[in-house]
Amino acid sequence: MARNPTPLMWTLFGAGGMLSALLFPIHIFLLGLAFPLGWLEGPSYESLHALVTHPITRLYLFAFISLPLFHWAHRFRYTINDLFQLKQGTGIVAGICYGAALVGTFTAAYTLWTLS
C-alpha cells in the first residue's frame, strides 16, 4: 500500500462513480422496476442463472458491486465531515466507510466465486 492512500481512494471513487453513472440507471430501471412490476417481461430463472454464472458476468458483477461501494465510501466520508463540520473523529469515519466497502467487496467476491 502506498504511504498516502488518498490517490488510490480517489481513483476507486472515480471508477465507481463512472461505472454507476454509465450502468446503474438501466439496471435499476429494468431489475428494480420494470421486471418486478411486470412492465416488461424479464428473463426466465434458467437463462438469468446461465448468464450470471458465466465467468465474464461474474467479473462484471464484481466490478459492478465493489467499485460503487468505494465511490460511496469516499464521498460519504467527506459528506459526513462537511455536514457535521467534524474536527475530530474523521479517521474513525474514514475507517468505517472504507471498511464497509472492503467488507462488501469481500462478500461480493465470495458470493460470486461460490455461486453455482
Binding site: G14, G16, G17, S20, A21, L22, L23, F24, P25, I26, H27, I28, F29, L30, L31, G32, L33, F35, P36, L37, G38, L40, E41, G42, P43, S44, Y45, E46, S47, L48, H49, L51, V52, L61, F64, I65, P68, L69, H71, W72, A73, F76, Y78, T79, N81, D82, L83, Q85, L86, K87, T90, G91, G104, T107, A108, T111, L112, T114, L115, S116
Partner: protein
C-alpha cells in the same frame, strides 16, 4: 471539490487554516450549497443499489423459488417506491458526474484541446450504448 475539510493532523508547525464558523444547517442557506449536498448524498443510493445487486445475486444462487420470492418482494409498493427514488438519485449522480468529465479528462489532438462538450458528449453516448447493450441482453428472454 470546494468543501474539503482539513483534518488538522498535518498542520504542525504550519499556519492553521482559518475556518469561518458556520451554523450546522449551512447547506440549507442557499441553492448552490443545497445542490452540492444533494449531489454528495446521491452516493448513498449508489451504495444501496450495489448492496441490493449483491443480495439479488445471492438470491439467484439459492434456487428458482427463492429468486421468485426475491423478485416478488422487489415489486412490493415500498420496495418499488425505494427503487423509484434510487433511480432519480442515480440519474442526478450520473448527470452531475458526466458533466464534470471535461474537467478531468483532457485530450489534445495536436495543439488543439478537444472541447468539453465533445468529451461530455462522448460519455453520454457511452451511457446510451452500454444501457442498450444491457437492455438487449436482459430482454432476450
Amino acid at each position: 471539490m470546494g468543501f474539503e475539510v482539513s483534518d488538522g493532523t498535518h498542520d504542525a508547525g504550519r499556519p492553521r487554516l482559518y475556518r469561518r464558523p458556520m451554523p450546522l444547517g449551512w447547506w440549507l442557506q442557499n441553492g448552490a450549497y443545497f445542490r452540492f449536498v444533494v449531489r454528495e448524498l446521491t452516493c448513498v443510493f449508489v451504495g444501496l443499489f450495489a448492496v441490493l445487486s449483491l443480495w439479488q445475486v445471492r438470491a439467484l444462487g439459492q434456487g428458482a423459488e427463492e429468486y421468485a420470492r426475491f423478485v416478488e418482494r422487489l415489486g412490493a409498493p415500498a420496495f418499488a417506491a425505494l427503487s423509484g427514488v434510487t433511480l432519480v438519485a442515480v440519474l442526478y449522480h450520473a448527470v452531475t458526474f458526466l458533466n464534470l468529465t471535461p474537467t478531468i479528462v483532457v485530450i489534445r489532438i495536436g495543439q488543439q484541446r478537444v472541447p468539453g462538450w465533445a468529451i461530455a458528449g462522448a460519455h453520454y453516448a457511452a451511457a446510451v450504448v452500454l444501457s442498450g447493450v444491457v437492455a438487449w441482453i436482459l430482454l432476450q428472454g
